[in-house]
Amino acid sequence: MSGEPHAPGPDLELEALWTAVRQRHGARLGEAELADLRQSVEGIVALVRALRRVPLANADAPLEILVPFRADTGPPT
């Protein structure tokens, strides 16, 4: 353990996501739009990191549940 502080490196997740977005859509956008879009991607990454900081238990499930479909009878009541 050296006590040297690490220099901040590139944000690999952000750069990977931005690269994917830019490669898919960037050709049709100008510089100003690209800069704006980059800001939006940065905003999304910041949002999901805030969500990831909230602990979840294994059993914490979404509210949505699968209702197996049958056109003839519908779900049991």
């Binding site: 931005w18 898919r24 879009l37 949002l47 969500l51 914490d60 499930a61 979404p62 509210l63």
Partner: protein, 463 residues
């Protein structure tokens, strides 16, 4: 005939003191002459309206009275499908010619109640789902506020708010994914009801977000909203998300004991001064009938949860639209590319947002189980000026934790006017209730409106 409550109009129609045809013709005249002033109308449905009015006149004349909406004209946000070649544009220029073969369930239910569709009302393109950040985001132009034409009517149910406020229609139907009923109702000084998720069928409505979209009424009073909700609510086999229990509006419910209303400190953060002053005055009015207690919401990223769910679902709902290149035809420049960023939302993060939503919904219910409703400013800001970028919870530039929680948890809310700020622009008050309990928040809002007269003020519009 203008600016009368649905209950007043209904009684006049039932007793035959007022003719449905005469009322409809008067409303059509206002929609056609004043609608363009507010960019409120996409399509006037004159032929359909007059046919419905004549049918209502015959039925009421023969003693077949369907109920409180029979013979009453209304407008519908232009994301609800209408048959008969009437366009349903979703507010988007590339979809100006879009038509459907059948009416949306909400339109059909209002038909069955005897209500008369006079207009498809303007809205922000694709219900604001592409990331707009200024009022000029519809091919019909920016929604103009009847109280001050230099300001926005709100969105995305822009025409629904301005048309009711300007007395163009007695009531309107809007939709909310996050703020799209409460914003135009609050900015235009009318009542708006966001029902519990699943209370009203979305069959035939444009989808922005399957797990957030709700349809509800805007009208002059909370009581009017209750009357409309009863007509449009209920299970629908064409929309599996609908609540199976029917809804009956209990307008007669009195209150022997005092109300218990909760204040959430987060809802006061960032409020403009006039909004805060109006809220404090409303609390003083409410304290005559209610105990007001401070309520604490758990520390969760409500707005982040809402933004990730909405972003991921909107990206999927409009995938074909985006891939087709149709975005280029939208009105707001930012709507032509902002949604591309949603490719950065990973599946596991969307699922995390859904799991956190479940925790938020349980926590919200725990809080609401101990009180009658949360009371809060309806909107933290006054209607923004036209031609300027505005602050928006959807982009994280304004605080709306309560709105985010209400929408991710599917909770009902009713908004009513509670004063005016600079520029003569309305301020508003909202009551947020427990899931499935629209009756309680409507009763609380009625109690407030029975003690105040903000809902009786009218904008400077020809009568």
């Amino acid at each position: 005939m203008i600016w009368r409550s649905l209950r007043q109009l209904g009684e006049q129609l039932r007793s035959r003191a007022l003719s449905p045809v005469a009322l409809t013709e008067a409303v059509l005249e206002r929609v056609e002459t004043l609608g363009p002033r507010y960019n409120a109308v996409v399509t006037v449905t004159r032929e359909r309206a007059l046919a419905q009015a004549r049918a209502a006149e015959r039925e009421i004349g023969s003693g077949h009275y369907r109920g409180p909406l029979h013979g009453i004209p209304y407008g519908a946000k232009d994301l609800l499908a209408t048959a008969g070649g009437i366009p349903t544009t979703w507010g988007a220029a590339p979809l100006r010619g879009q038509t459907f073969d059948a009416d949306a369930t909400v339109i059909r239910r209002l038909d069955e109640a005897g209500a008369i569709l006079v207009a498809k009302l303007a809205m922000v393109e694709l219900a604001g789902g592409m990331g707009y950040r200024q009022p000029h985001a519809s091919f019909t132009g920016p929604g103009i506020n009847p109280w001050n034409p230099g300001h926005w009517s709100g969105g995305s149910s822009s025409g629904s708010g301005s048309a009711v406020a300007a007395g163009l229609v007695p009531f309107a139907i809007g939709s909310e994914t996050w703020g799209s009923i409460l914003s135009p109702a609050g900015f235009c000084g009318v009542a708006g009801l966001r029902p519990t998720y699943g209370r009203v069928s979305r069959h035939g409505a444009m989808t922005l977000s399957w797990t957030l979209d709700k349809i509800g009424p805007l009208a002059l009073t909370a009581d009017d909203c209750g009357l409309v909700l009863e007509a449009i609510a209920g299970p629908d086999p064409d929309d599996p998300s609908t609540i199976q229990a029917p809804f009956r509006y209990d307008h007669a419910s009195g209150r022997d004991q005092r109300w218990c209303l909760g204040i959430v400190p987060e809802s006061l953060a960032g409020c403009e001064d006039s909004v805060r002053a109006a809220f404090d005055r409303s609390l003083a009015d409410l304290r005559a009938v209610a105990d007001v207690v401070e309520t604490t919401l758990p520390d969760l990223p409500y707005e982040g949860i809402a933004r990730i769910i909405l972003g991921a679902e909107a990206a999927s709902a409009f995938e074909d639209f985006v891939e087709s290149g149709a975005l280029a035809g939208l009105t707001a420049p930012e709507d032509r590319y902002s949604t591309y960023a949603r490719d950065a939302i990973l599946a596991r993060d969307y699922l995390r947002a859904l799991r956190l939503r479940a925790i938020a919904a349980r926590e919200a219910d725990r809080v609401l189980a101990g009180i009658d409703a949360i009371v809060a400013p309806g909107r933290p800001i006054l209607a923004p000026a036209l031609g300027r970028e505005f602050r928006s919870a959807l982009r994280g530039t304004v605080n709306d934790a309560l709105g985010a929680l209400g929408n991710i948890a599917g909770l009902p809310a009713v908004i009513v006017p509670n004063g005016f700020g600079p520029g003569g622009l309305p301020t508003s008050l909202q009551f947020v209730g427990r899931a499935h309990d629209e009756d309680t928040i409507l009763a609380a809002a009625r109690a407030y409106q029975s003690r105040t007269d903000w809902h009786l003020r009218r904008p400077p519009v020809p009568a």
